[in-house]
Amino acid sequence: MSESVVFVVDDDQAMRNSLKWLIESVGMRVETYASADEFIKNYYPGRSGCLLLDVRMPGMSGLELQEYLANQQIRIPVIIITGHGDVPMAVRAMKAGAVDFIEKPFNDEFLLDSLRNALALDEHQRSLQAERAEIAARLAQLTPREHEVMVMVTDGKSNKEVAAALGVSAKTVEAHRARVMEKMEASSLAELVRMVMAANI
């Protein structure tokens, strides 16, 4: 959590500074950028956190930045700030995947709650990402035959059925299965199934 940063992108300096002032009052780290371009230059995908984005900006608008990030497969949670009456724009932002939108002037509780949720979401996404990468690494160790066995087992087939389907003895299947469990570091069949689902094979 301590690594997470709230990235504020707003063209109005007073807005940037006041937001930084407000958000830092609850102990979150804040970085401010005057434009979308400046943010893109300084951000790299590994950084955890969330993005607090003003919709109306000269140059690249908030929506455009959101679109850009989506195209770059950067899944940082985005909270949109809108002025009074920019409802259509807010709707567009939500459709494009923003987690929340906040109208100016802000209710500070609402804003801070929203930020906390966004950071939690980011954390969750990152851990999922890490786990998926781990599972993928383990899957890569499997031989093709082991992979086959694993898919059939997680499909709910018994050892006998697998043996019949692959034309090998049940004993061999047993051996493959044991190796799969070992390589995948799964303590039970249920965990293996979860891993396979998480890896989205």
Binding site: W21, S25, P105, F106
Partner: protein, 861 residues
Amino acid sequence: MPGRLTPFRPLWLRRIPLPVLSILIGVLCGLVVWFFLDQFQSRALNRIFQEELQTRLDQRARESLVRFEQYIASYTSTTKLLANHRRLAEYLEPKAWDEEGSVTPKVYLRSEPDWLPQVPQWAGLIPPSFLILFDSEGRGREVYLREPRPLPQDILSSGPLYVSESRVQPYITTLDNKPYLLISRPMEDSFGSPMGDLMLAVAIDDRFLAASQAGVSFRGAVVALLDADEQRVLASSDSKRLPPASPLTEWERDYVVTAQSFFEHEGSDLNMLFATFMPRWGMAATSSSVTRLVRRQRIIDTLVYISVFTLAFYLLSSRINMLLRRISRFSQRALGIRQPFPEGGNQLIVLEEWMRQFVHLVRRAGDEMRHRHEAEIQESEAVKRAIFATSLDSIITLDEKGRVIDCNDQAERLFGYGQEQAAGRELAALVFDGQSGHTFRKILESSGDGAQPQEESAHRELTALRADGTQLPVEVSVMRIQLESGVVFTVYLHDISRRKKDEQEIQSLAKFASESPSPVLRVNERGVILYANDAAEPLLDYWGCSRGQTLPLYWLKQVKRVLDKGWDAELELVSDGQIYSLLLAPIGELSYVNIYGRDITAVRRAEQASRQHQAELVHVCRLSTMGEMATGIAHELNQPLSAIVNYANGCTRRLQQGIGGEAELVEAMEHITTQAERAGEIIRRLRSLVGKQPPDRSVVDINDLVREVVSFVEFDTQRLGLEIEFDLEPGGLPVRVDLVQIEQVLLNLVRNAMDALRDVPEDKRHLFIRTRPEGAERVRVEVRDTGSGIDATTMEHLFDAFYTTKSTGMGMGLPISKTILDDHNGKIWAESQPGKGTTFYIVLPNAMELAHTFTMAGRIQ
């Protein structure tokens, strides 16, 4: 006129008329033919004749011989008859010639012996020279001599030899150098004992030969017996011409001799020939008579030939003469030329001269025509080139594939392509596209088959494209021209954009009168309605007259007045709630007046509607401008306000948690101050923006303003079933105001009132507007409605901005009105009795000091 021709050279030939010439040629040819034919034909004829004659002679000779033989045969049978006769047998029966040695025969001279029967048969035959009875020993016993001539010596001495010879067959021999025919037959007595032989001897002399031929003679032909060894005549049928013993050679010159041997009768001592002598002179006569005949025949043939030939030529020449006369007449009358040569003479040559003359004339005429034609072509070429260059139409020449070969300047100007750009490109693709291009190709094709007349494909209207892409309508006319080198098309493109427009205008003009929804009439100087269209019916009804009748007196006067003055006049007429404007236009020359009516009821209404619309637009415009401005202000203010809130919240949180240094907090507070000042600055800017507009003042009658505003809402009032009641100060109340602003205020009040009246029953809806002077310097306007009134709370906030009781309202109407009146140094307020109604008051300073110069003209339309 006709140039000299070289006449036909041999003049003498030319002068001879054709029939004469034909006779001459005919005679000449006849003679030539005669000369040659006669030679050959006569000779050939002679030869044929000779051959024929020879054959005939041979034939005749054979016939003579046969006759001779038959003659002899008849002697043989006679001898047989005599030998077997009963008288001889009876005579012989008592006789017995048995003496030995020589005996002297008994001779009968002149008297006939008993053994000789009267033989009538001699009649056909020459009587024999003598008859001898020989006994069995061959000794002559009895001799009968018919003539007193001595018996040849040999006959008795060599009796047995002759008997034996002549017993077999008739035997011819010479006795005493004279030829004799000897025939012997054995004889018997009554008992049938052989008694010897009877010998008959006949001298073969001219009588015998003539008799043998039984008088048959052929042109002096003579038969003869010849001694072949000595080549001389033994006996002939004509001893005068051909005496016996004469040599044969003597006669060969004058006779044709046909000799035949007859072996049966030859004696052992004699080589005889039987000959026929045909005299040569007879043959020559026959031949020459035949030749004469043929020659006569030939002369007749030749004459017939010449006459037919001449007749044919005469007929031919007479036809040619007729033809020549016609040619001559035709030439003199139609062509005006005289005969080039003297008349008469050989018609064929004259005809040939005519022909040559005609050929010459035709050639000359051809040359002249060609010269003239070339000159004409040059002229017309020049004219065409001028037309081509100066034509107002675009003229384009295409090859058979529809590609541009040439175009004139107008085409370049019209389509914006240069000659070089366009050349070789397909016109259909160049200046047409899509459907037009397709149609154009069709036109080319259809003009290509040539079967249909040009008119059908001509004058098609198409849409063309200029080089810059703009469209223009063109009329296309295509002409197909068949040249020796191939087919070309001449395409005329006429820019008809202007004509199209003209056409449309003319069409619309033509429809004007009859189809005009407005009344159109024509009256003459006596006010009789000559024409009135359907739309004029209401006017006719109003006037109470129909077509062909006279107008009412007032309108008749107007018509006359217009005609007198010669100017148009416009009059209005109100009939049955409709307002018409009538334009009376005089046509001086015809003494007619055209009346153009116009139902201006709708126009009048539309004018009102449009005025109202305009006013509403102004109102809406104002409101929307205000709305936008409000949005802008809201956004502008939102920024500093949001920042202030953030800073303040941040401060609060820090203070609550006891974090944050004093300096930090102070800085945040300073930020708050800055942002608040920023908000204040925005508002100041806004105010200065509003305050910049300079006041626009003019002097008007407040009553007019009221009327105008009411006209804006006329439709709404009608819809509400409301009639606005006025109580306006008579004589007007001049004020010096910003027209639009005050109208805005009044409109606002009227609208509010109408909104208030919407909720009450229709019969209780009333709206009064009253204008009155207030004191000496002010003017008061009251707008009173019988609506539900305004409650006390609302009354308090009546002039507060953004305070509204309406769902669609902004809450800006009355505050703005108040601002406007403040600007005008006036006042606005309201009095309301809930349930009974509301009255709004406006008070404005008047403009009485200007009343004496006050005029409404220019202002009220």
